[in-house]
């Protein structure tokens, strides 16, 4: 969600900026000012909860509950972070989250590439209908299918395993859609040229189609990572041993211990978010390109 708010205005401002620059005059400055003001407000709305979380993680529990609220910690307590890490076993939970998230991201990217390619380049019966069916799955909330998924996982004998944690998410309609669109953007002549050059579908896919769809694949990787990392309901249902808990479940247990440690919970939340921030920073460029790939040519 934070990603959307921060990124989507990007291309819009870029194009309007060109337009205003051409028009020139003093109204241009006013417009620009207005735009930055709006973006700043949006940024504050997005960043404020994160800021409060950071502040609260540095306060004593009593201060957190007090009125008026403290917006700036005069005596920050940094030991909350080491407490969260050690008493909350966050290291272990983070590891679990990493394993499950990587399985899910890998699965989603792979299945999306393969299915997206099929829908973009191959001819087969009921192609349209199947594609619509794929899209239709996006309209079903996960909660609706959760019971059925659970019974499936149990009957497969992978309840309370990493496999069970990842299984329902190994394919994703949105990923298939995203990559189909990216592959459709590849000129058909390239496909024909490769066929004559001696490349079948499989090698064309990996040597030409995937490299050309890299921005979209990067975008999918990030979205997939975000959703997998932030899962709560499914890991809660499908694990019974604490040693399989993901970090989101671990955070709940951290809070569960006692209300006096609420500052430690806040510290835990910040720790759990760090991997996502790193991911977003690393993929920022690719992500923006992936989001605007369909809209702006070239």
């Amino acid at each position: 969600m934070t990603a959307d708010a921060a990124i989507l205005p990007g291309p819009v401002t870029a194009s309007t900026e060109v337009a205003t620059r051409r028009r020139g005059g003093p109204s241009r400055r006013v417009r620009l000012l207005g735009r930055y003001l709006l973006l700043s407000v949006l940024a504050v709305i997005v960043l404020f909860p994160i800021y409060i979380t950071v502040v609260n993680s540095l306060l004593r529990p009593a201060q957190i509950a007090s009125q008026p609220p403290t917006f700036f910690p005069t005596h920050p307590i940094f030991s909350t972070y080491s407490d969260a890490w050690s008493s909350g076993h966050l290291g272990h939970y983070l590891f679990n989250s990493f394993v499950v998230t990587i399985i899910i991201v890998g699965g989603q990217v792979l299945t999306s590439i393969l299915a997206g390619y099929a829908f973009a380049f191959l001819k087969f019966p009921f192609k349209r209908a199947l594609f619509v069916l794929f899209l239709a799955t996006l309209m079903i909330p996960f909660e609706v299918t959760v019971v059925q998924n659970l019974t499936t996982v149990v009957s497969l004998g992978i309840y309370n395993t990493y496999a069970g944690l990842a299984a329902p998410f190994l394919a994703w309609g949105l990923g298939v859609f995203l990559l189909r669109q990216a592959f459709l953007g590849i000129p058909r002549d390239l496909d024909d040229a490769a066929a004559l050059d001696g490349y079948g579908n499989w090698r064309f896919l990996w040597r030409v189609a995937v490299p050309l769809a890299r921005p979209s694949i990067a975008a999918l990787t990030v979205f997939s990572f975000l959703t997998a990392w932030n899962q709560y309901l499914w890991p809660l249902l499908v694990t019974k041993d604490e040693h399989l808990s993901t970090v989101q479940i671990g955070l709940r247990q951290l809070r569960g211990t006692s209300l006096e440690n609420v500052n430690i919970t806040f510290a835990g939340v910040i720790i759990a978010v760090v991997p996502l921030v790193v991911l977003l920073v690393v993929f920022q460029k690719q992500l923006i390109r992936g989001l605007t790939a369909g809209a702006v040519k070239g």
């Binding site: 000129p187 002549d189 390239l190 024909d192 040229a193 490769a194 066929a195 004559l196 050059d197 001696g198 490349y199 079948g200 090698r203 030409v208 490299p211 050309l212």
Partner: protein, 362 residues
């Protein structure tokens, strides 16, 4: 290199017949041009040879092999696309060697062949660049290098020059012809540009709505168009055609349209007598008409287009039809609106049956 032959090829897309019973052969080391207006099925025919499209009926042969059911990669033909179809994420060198990699050519030989192709097309300095960093003409050469590097049985080219500007097109045309000769290549070349066809082709195959109209050497097609379509399609400005009827006896046959009478030469007359059509179409090329005070056709100048070395005079005949007269630049131009008389070179008249549109001649 090898011959490429299509035998009774038909291709239907749902209810569209893109290619209709096409039988055509490009001989070994021949540059055969497929020419026709947009949508006539040139590209489809080429793609059928390449194996990118399966024919609904008919046989494709490359060399002595029936390749009708062979996959594109097994046909050993290279194609140059209008869009060049370079892989944007690879350098020029990678693009050129891409087909060799697919065929598992050993690296040493690969490098050698890439270097050789690059030399042939003068793109050696460009090998490290990506396609986006090349001009249209350079991209075109890379596409050609990628085709040549394979040493295929035949080259297929689909309007490879149409994305170049006029000057570069003329230059590249000559280079392509030179390349074809040097490599003794069999080339099937698709274009809708008749100047390209006339200047490059050893033979031209003219298609209209999927049907082959005529195959012959450029000069033969120009001098003896097989039907009205070819007559009107080849030549700029196009051949003048006037519909009318024939009167008179065998020794003195006369073409008559409202306000126009043209005496036919004896050769044409005898051919006509055996066919004896009701209505005919007389064709005369603009350069075979001239302003002639003693001429039998009266007309009025309505437009003069000067190209420097020649002029195109658009004139209106008495019955209201317009015809074009080509006048060399060194002759005195007529005035706009001037009444003139024309005469036609009797040896270069073309006569067509108005119903079948086929040529009538000896």
């Amino acid at each position: 290199m090898s011959r490429v032959a299509l035998e009774h090829i038909t291709k239907r897309f749902d209810d569209v017949v893109a290619v209709d019973d096409l039988t055509l052969e490009a001989h070994d080391e021949e540059l055969l041009v497929l020419l026709g207006p947009s949508g006539c099925g040139k590209s489809t025919a080429l793609r059928i040879i390449a194996g990118l499209e399966a024919p609904s009926e008919g046989t494709v042969r490359i060399g002595d092999r029936d390749v009708t059911d062979a996959e594109a990669k097994d046909r050993d033909v290279a194609m140059v696309f209008q869009s060049y179809a370079l892989y944007p994420h690879m350098t020029v060198a990678r693009n050129v060697e891409f087909p060799l990699r697919a065929r598992r050519v050993p690296p040493a030989e690969r490098d050698e062949r890439v270097a050789e192709a690059a030399r042939a097309l003068d793109i050696t300095e460009l090998l490290g660049r990506k396609p986006a960093q090349l001009s249209g003409g350079q991209r075109q050469r890379v596409a050609l290098a990628r085709a040549i590097v394979r040493r295929p049985q035949a080259f297929l080219m689909d309007e490879p020059l149409s994305n170049l500007d006029a000057k570069l097109r003329v230059q590249t045309r000559a280079e392509l012809v030179d390349l074809q000769r040097r490599f003794q290549a069999t080339v099937v070349y698709v274009t809708h540009d008749q100047v390209e066809a006339m200047t490059m082709g050893h033979r031209i195959a003219i298609l209209d709505r999927g049907v082959l109209q005529q195959v012959d050497a450029p000069q033969a097609v120009y001098e003896r168009p097989a039907n009205l379509f070819v007559a009107r399609f080849i030549g700029t400005p196009p051949m003048n055609t006037i519909e009318g009827r024939l009167t008179g006896g065998a020794d003195h046959l006369v073409f008559e349209a409202s306000g126009v009478t043209v005496a036919l030469p004896a050769g044409l007359a005898s051919a006509t007598m055996s066919a004896s059509p009701d209505r005919v179409v007389l064709g005369v090329r603009p350069e075979d008409l001239r302003l002639d005070p003693a001429g039998s056709l009266t007309a009025k100048i309505i437009l003069i287009e000067s190209l420097g070395h020649e002029r195109h005079l658009v004139v209106r005949l008495d019955d209201g039809q317009t015809v074009i007269v080509r006048q060399p630049g060194d002759q005195t131009p007529p005035r706009d609106g001037e009444a003139v008389t024309l005469s036609a070179n009797p040896d270069s008249l073309h006569l067509f049956d108005a119903d079948t549109e086929q040529r009538i001649s000896s």
